[in-house]
Symmetry: D3
C-alpha cells in the first residue's frame, strides 16, 4: 500500500532497462542548502501527475523503469562521497542499464558523468543551467557545485560540452568557455541545431533546474532571475526526444525547503517524467 | 465598519441582477485540500484591488452585485452537498438572477451548471482548465473533481462543451474528448473563434485557475506545470466580454494554504472582478 | 536504499506480532484539513529519532513490527471509507495481530475500535483528547470527527470509556459525559489510578494529539489552547506501560500543513515510538 | 450566510450591553509590523472554538454582545488616529456600553483607556505584558507602543496602574516603576491579592499577549522569551472574573503574519472569549 | 569578516562617486506592510549573485560604490520622516554624489526625487510601476504611497514624468494622466523611444518592483496580476543604459515577509546590481 | 547607520576583553541543515531585545564586547574547516581574550573547546543538550555533530565533562557515559550542585539549544520533544553566573529556516545576551 517509488516506476531492477535513483547530497552548497531533500519531496508529489504525457504522447506505464531509491551517504566528506557515487553508477552502467539520476546539488553529476564516460569514451554532454559551473575551484575546493562542468571537462576535453541558458558566472568563466565549450547565453534557442548534430552520438543530459526563471521555479538554492519559462523547457525536452542514444541524464538542484507551495516540486516531477520517457524509449 | 463582502459588491439581493457566492467545499480533493478557504482569503484581499478595470474600462461600482456569502455545508457527504448546492443555485436562477460562483474544488460546478441548464436547455459551457476532468469515476466515486465535466456531459450532450488549456489527463480521456467535446490542448488561442460562434447562445463559463502556470499561480491543489500566463488569461477574458448571453460563471480551485505570498489570491480577485464585469454587463 | 517504513519497523507481516498502518483520511474535518498527510511526514522524519527510548529503556529494534503502509481510500464517501477501514482492521485482528494506527482525523478510530471490540467484547477505551467528541451529530452528519466517541459508545456502552485532558465541547456534551463516561477535564493526572483499575483488561488507547497545548503542538486542525505539555504526555505514556493487555492503539490528528517547523511531526514520531514499545512488549 | 462577526457576537448594538471592536493599527511598531491584521484572523478562526467555556462554566450565547467591526483608519498620521479612536470609544462609553477592544499594537490602548477614565475618574488599570511600556518617548516620538503606559500615567497618576509579567525594558523604566506603579516581574502570581483589593473599583484590563512565552505565542511583533504559559494566563483570567466592575478591556499585539500555524490566533480567540464573558457578566 | 554591504559596494564614501543607501520605511502602506525589511534581506542575499553582469558586460568591482547603510527613522510620524530623508539626500547631492536608494514603500521616493530636483531643475523622471500613484490623497493623507507621483508633479510640473507598465488606479487617475504625464499602460514597450528623447537630460529612475507580474515577483505589498516578466525588465534596464545623465535612482516595494522563497529578493538584488552599473558608469 | 553587530557589541577588538564570533558551518548535519544562517538571523533580530537584563540586573552597555563577525569557510571539507576554526580561536586565546561563539552545528565546538583546553589544561566543560553526542563515529565519519563530545573527551579525559538535559542517544552512548562523564538525563536540576563544585575552575559552557522543548524552540535541525522550558534554562543561566572563571562559551544549533516566526531566534538572542554578561563580567 506504500507510496515508495516515483509514479509508474515500480518495476524490478532485473526487468528494467532504465534505472532511476536519487543522490541526497548538498555538501558543497555555498548559499542555501536543501537539495538533499529533493527525492523525498518528488516521490509522493509525483502522484499529482499522470503517467501519460500529452507532449510526447507516450505513457510511463509502457516502459519498464526501476526506482532504486536514494544513495545512503555520509555528510562532510566530499571526496569519499564522490567515490561512492562513482562506484554505484559504474555498477549500473556495467549491468547495461541506462539511468536517470536526481540530485542533490550539481556536483553529484561529476561522478555520474564520469561513469557514463568510462563506458562511452565518445560521450557528449548537454548542459542546461543558469550558471557556467566552470570555476577552477571555490574557496580552494576543487570539488564544488560551481566547478562541476570544469571537472568534467578535464576528462571529456574540448568540443564535448554544450551549454544552454547560461546567465551567471565570473567574467573569466565566460571567457574560458569561448575556447572550450559551446555556450548559448540567456536562452536555449539553438538546442534544435545542436541536437541535430549530436543525434547519433552517446549523450548525457544534465539539467540544473535553476535554468528556469525563479518566478517559475523558486525552489532552488541559488535563484538567478531572468531564466527561461517552463513552456520553453518543455519545448526543449521535445527537441531532446530526437536524440537516438541518450545513455544517462539527471535533474538537479530542486531544494524543497524553498518550495512552500510545491510548484517547483511539480516542475521537477514533470521534467523527470518527460526525461524518463526520453531516455527510456 | 466590517469588511464582509467582495470589493464593490455591497448591494442588496433585491436590487442586484447579479449574485456572487462561495462554495467552501473540497471534499473529493484527492491530492492537497484547502480550496474550502478560497472565499475567506478573497474577500479581505480584494481591497488590495481597485474596482475600476483599465482592461474593460468599466467599474464594479457601476453595476449592482450582491455578495450573498458562502454556503454552509457539512463535510463528508458529497451527494447531499451536491444537492444543497443545486437547490440554492436553482433558487437564484428562478429569481431571475445571473450569478458568479467561487469554489471550492471543481466538482461544485456540477450542480451550478445543472441549475443553469435547467433554465437554459440550450446552455453551452466554456471550460478553461489544465485537466480534462473527463474521468468516468475516481477510485469508484462518480462525484469527483476529476469527473466533473464528464458528469455535465451526461445532461448537456455532445457539442456543448468547449475546453481550453488542457494539458493533463489519462490517455483515454483525451481520446474520448475527440468525439464529444471541443478541446484545445496547452493554450487558449482558439478562444476568439469559438466565442464568435457562441456569441448569442446562453453560456456558462467555468475557470479552473490551475489552467495558469504554477509559476504564476502556485496556490492550487494540483499544480500542473506548463500553463498559460496571466496576461494570456486576461486577454482571454477580454475575448469572453464579446459574449452577449452569459448566464453564470465560476472561478474554482484557489487553495490559500498553498499561497503563502497572496499572489494567487490576488489573481483570483482580479479574475473575479473581470468576470463580474463580464457577466454583469 | 529507500526510506519507506517508520524507523525500526522493517519486519515482514508474518514475522511481526504488531502491525503499524496509516489512514490518510480527513473527509469530515470541519475546520482545517490536512491530517491525510500525517504518515507521509512521519515516516521520513522518524529518522531524526533514535530507536532506543531512554524513558522505557527499551529499543524498537528488539521487537518485531511491520509497517504495512497506508490504506488507499477514495475521498468524499465517508460511509464506504469507514467500511473499508473496518474490513482491513478486522483482517489484522483475525490474523492475531496487535496494531497501532496513525490517522488521519479522529473519526478513523471508530472502525478500528469497532474491529478490536468485535474480538474483545470486554474492550475498554482510554481516550486522551482536548475535545469531548460526544456530539450526536455535526450538521446532521453522524459520522463526524466531533461524534467519534459517541459512536463508539453505541456499541461499547457505559463504563467503558475513560476520557482525559478534555477542555472543549458543548455544554450538553459535558453534561452527558457525567452519566456515561469517566472524564477528567483539563489534565491527565488521574491516569495512574484508572490504569491501575484497568491493568488486566483488554484496552484500546486512542490519543488525539490536540490534547497537547498548541504552543507545544501547533500542527493540528483544531488547536485548543490550554493543553498539557509534552513532558506530561510522556509521563502518561510511562503510566500506560503498566497495562498488560493493550490490543490496539492509535495516534491521530497530526496535520503537517500546520507544522512548518516539523516540531509537531517530531512529537508524533516520538509518541508513536513509545506507543509501539508499549503495545508491542 | 457570511461569517462576519466573532463567534456568538451577532447581536445588534442596541440590544447589547457589551460592544466588541477592532483597531487595525500598527503604525508605531518599531520591529515587526502586522498587528493590523489581528481581527481579520480572529473572526474566521473563532469558529474553531465553542461558545461555551468549561473554565467559567458560562456560554457566550447567554450574554448579548455586538461585534461592531474594525475602525477604518488612515496610516502614517498617529496623532489623528489616536483622536479618532478616542472619539469612537467615547461614543460607546457615553451610550452606556461596556467594551472589549482588540488591537493592533499596544498604543491603541491609550485612547481607549482615556475614554474609560473620562467617565470613571477612579479608574484602575490592570496591565499584563512582557514589556514595561514606560519609556518617555521612542526616538523622539511620545506616541509609541513603548510609551503607552507612561502616557496613561499622565492622566491616571500614581497608584492606579498594576503591571504583571514584566520582563523587558530599560533599566530606568524598572527604576521609575518602583515609585509610580505596582509591578510584578516575570510572573502573575500576585494577581489574586491585587484583584482582592480592587474588586469593587472601576477597572480596565489591558492584556498584551506577548506576556505569554513565545513558545506558546510566537505570533507577535516583539517576542520576549521567558514568559508565562497559557495555563497560567487562563488561571489569571479566572481570578479576574472576581472583579465586580470591569468597564473595558483589551487584547493587543497578535500579529498574524508571525502565526503560520494559527496557534497564536487560537490563543487570542480563547482569551477574547473568556474576556467577553468576564466583562459582559 | 562581516557581511555588511551589498556585494561589491565596500568602498569608502570619499573614494566613491556613487552612494547606495536604504530607507526602511513603510509607514503609510495601506494593505500589507513589510518593505521596511528590504535592505536587511537584500544585503546578505546579494552574495548569491556575481558582481559581473553578462547583460551589460561590466563588473561592479570596476566602479567605486559606497554602501552607507540604512537611515535610522522613527515610525508613526510621516512628515518628520520625509524631512529627514530630504536632508540626508540633499547632503549626498551637495557632496556631488550620484545615488541609488532602496525602499521601503514608494512614498520615500518623494524626498529623494525632490533633493535631485533641487540640484537639477531640469530633472525628468522615469517611473516604472503597476500603479498610477497619482491620487490627490489617501483617506485624507496627502503623504501616501498612493500619491507619491502626484506630490512630485507639484514641483516637477507637466511633461517631466514618464510612466510605464501602469495597470491599476482609479478611473480619475488615468484621466488626469492624459493631460499631465506620459503613460504607457500594461507594458514598457515604448521605453526605447522615450529614452532616445531624454538621453542627455538629467534623469531620475524610480522602479516600483510591483511592475513585475506577481508570479515573477510575489514579494511585495500590493501584488497586481498581469505585469511584465523579468526578461522584459532586464531588456528595459539595458535600454536605460543608453541614458547619459542619470543622477539618481531607486528600487522600491520589495517586502521580504511575502518572499518565503527568496526569489523576489534575488530579483531586487539583480535589479540593483544593474542599476548601480547604469548610474555609476 | 548599518546594523552589523549584535546589540551592544560595537566595541573594537583592542578595547574588548570579550570577543563574539559566528561559525556558519553545518556541513555534517545529517537531518536538516540550516544552522549556517544562525548569526545572519541573530544580529538584526537582537534589536528586538534590550541590552539590560532584569534577570542579572546588568547591562551589555557596561561591558566591552567586540563582535568580530563570522568566519569565512569553504563547505565540503570538514577537516580543513575544523583546522581553520582552531587557528582562529587559538589566536583569540593567545591575545588574552575570552570569547563567546555562535554556531553552526555542534561540531564547531570541538575546535573552540580544544583551543581553550590548550591554554587551560585544567578545563572543565558544561554541556547542555538534548543529545549525548558521544558516538564514536557517524556512518564512518569521526568528525560529526553526533560525535563532538566524544572527540572532546579524547583530550579532556574522564571527569571533565558535565552533561545536562540529555534525552536522546544510542543505548551504548548512555552506557558509556556512566563511566566517563557526569550525565543528568531529561532535566538540568543538578546544575547548582555541579556549579558549586566547579566554581573556581576554568570552565567552557556549550549550550546546544535543542535542549529546549521543540514547542519552545522549534528552530533547530533535530527537534527532540520533551525538553526543558525557557524559564528553566534562564534559571540555569542564573546559576552559571556563580562561576568565577568561564573562559569560553558557545550557543549552537539555531536553524533559522525552521523558525518561521522568529521565536527561536529571539531565544538565541536572549541566551546570547545572558551568556555575554556571564562570560564578560
Amino acid at each position: 500500500m506504500n507510496i515508495s517509488t516515483f509514479i509508474g516506476c515500480d518495476n524490478s531492477y532485473e526487468e528494467s532497462e532504465l534505472t532511476l535513483f536519487g543522490i541526497p547530497f548538498d555538501g558543497t552548497t555555498s548559499f542555501r542548502p536543501g537539495t538533499r531533500f529533493a527525492m523525498q519531496a518528488i516521490r509522493p508529489d509525483s502522484y499529482g501527475l499522470e503517467t501519460y504525457s500529452p507532449y510526447l504522447d507516450r505513457d510511463l506505464e509502457d516502459i519498464a523503469v526501476h526506482d532504486s531509491g536514494d544513495l545512503d551517504l555520509p555528510l562532510g566528506n566530499t571526496e569519499k562521497t564522490m567515490n561512492e557515487i562513482l562506484l554505484f553508477t559504474r555498477g549500473l552502467v556495467d549491468d547495461g542499464k541506462k539511468f536517470v539520476m536526481v540530485g542533490g546539488e550539481h556536483l553529484v553529476s561529476y561522478p555520474t558523468i564520469k561513469a557514463a564516460f568510462e563506458k562511452y569514451p565518445d560521450l557528449h554532454v548537454i548542459h542546461i543551467d543558469a550558471h557556467t559551473d566552470l570555476r577552477e575551484d571555490y574557496m580552494g575546493e576543487k570539488l564544488s557545485h560551481a566547478s562541476v562542468i570544469k571537472r568534467c571537462h578535464e576528462f571529456l576535453g574540448d568540443g564535448r560540452i554544450f551549454q544552454f541558458g547560461i546567465r551567471s558566472g565570473l567574467k573569466e568563466e565566460f571567457e574560458w568557455a569561448k575556447d572550450h565549450t559551446y555556450m548559448e547565453r540567456f536562452s536555449i534557442e539553438t538546442l534544435p541545431e545542436i541536437v541535430k548534430k549530436l543525434e547519433n552520438l552517446p549523450i548525457y543530459i544534465t539539467i540544473d533546474l535553476d535554468v528556469l526563471d525563479p518566478g517559475t521555479f523558486p525552489g532552488t538554492g541559488t535563484p538567478e532571475p531572468g531564466g527561461i519559462t517552463y513552456k520553453e523547457l518543455l519545448a526543449g525536452l521535445k527537441v531532446l526526444d530526437d536524440l537516438n542514444h541518450v545513455v544517462g541524464a539527471d535533474v538537479v538542484e530542486l531544494s524543497p525547503p524553498y518550495d512552500p507551495t510545491g510548484a517547483s516540486t511539480a516542475i521537477a516531477c514533470k521534467t523527470l517524467r518527460e526525461l524518463l520517457l526520453i531516455v527510456g524509449k
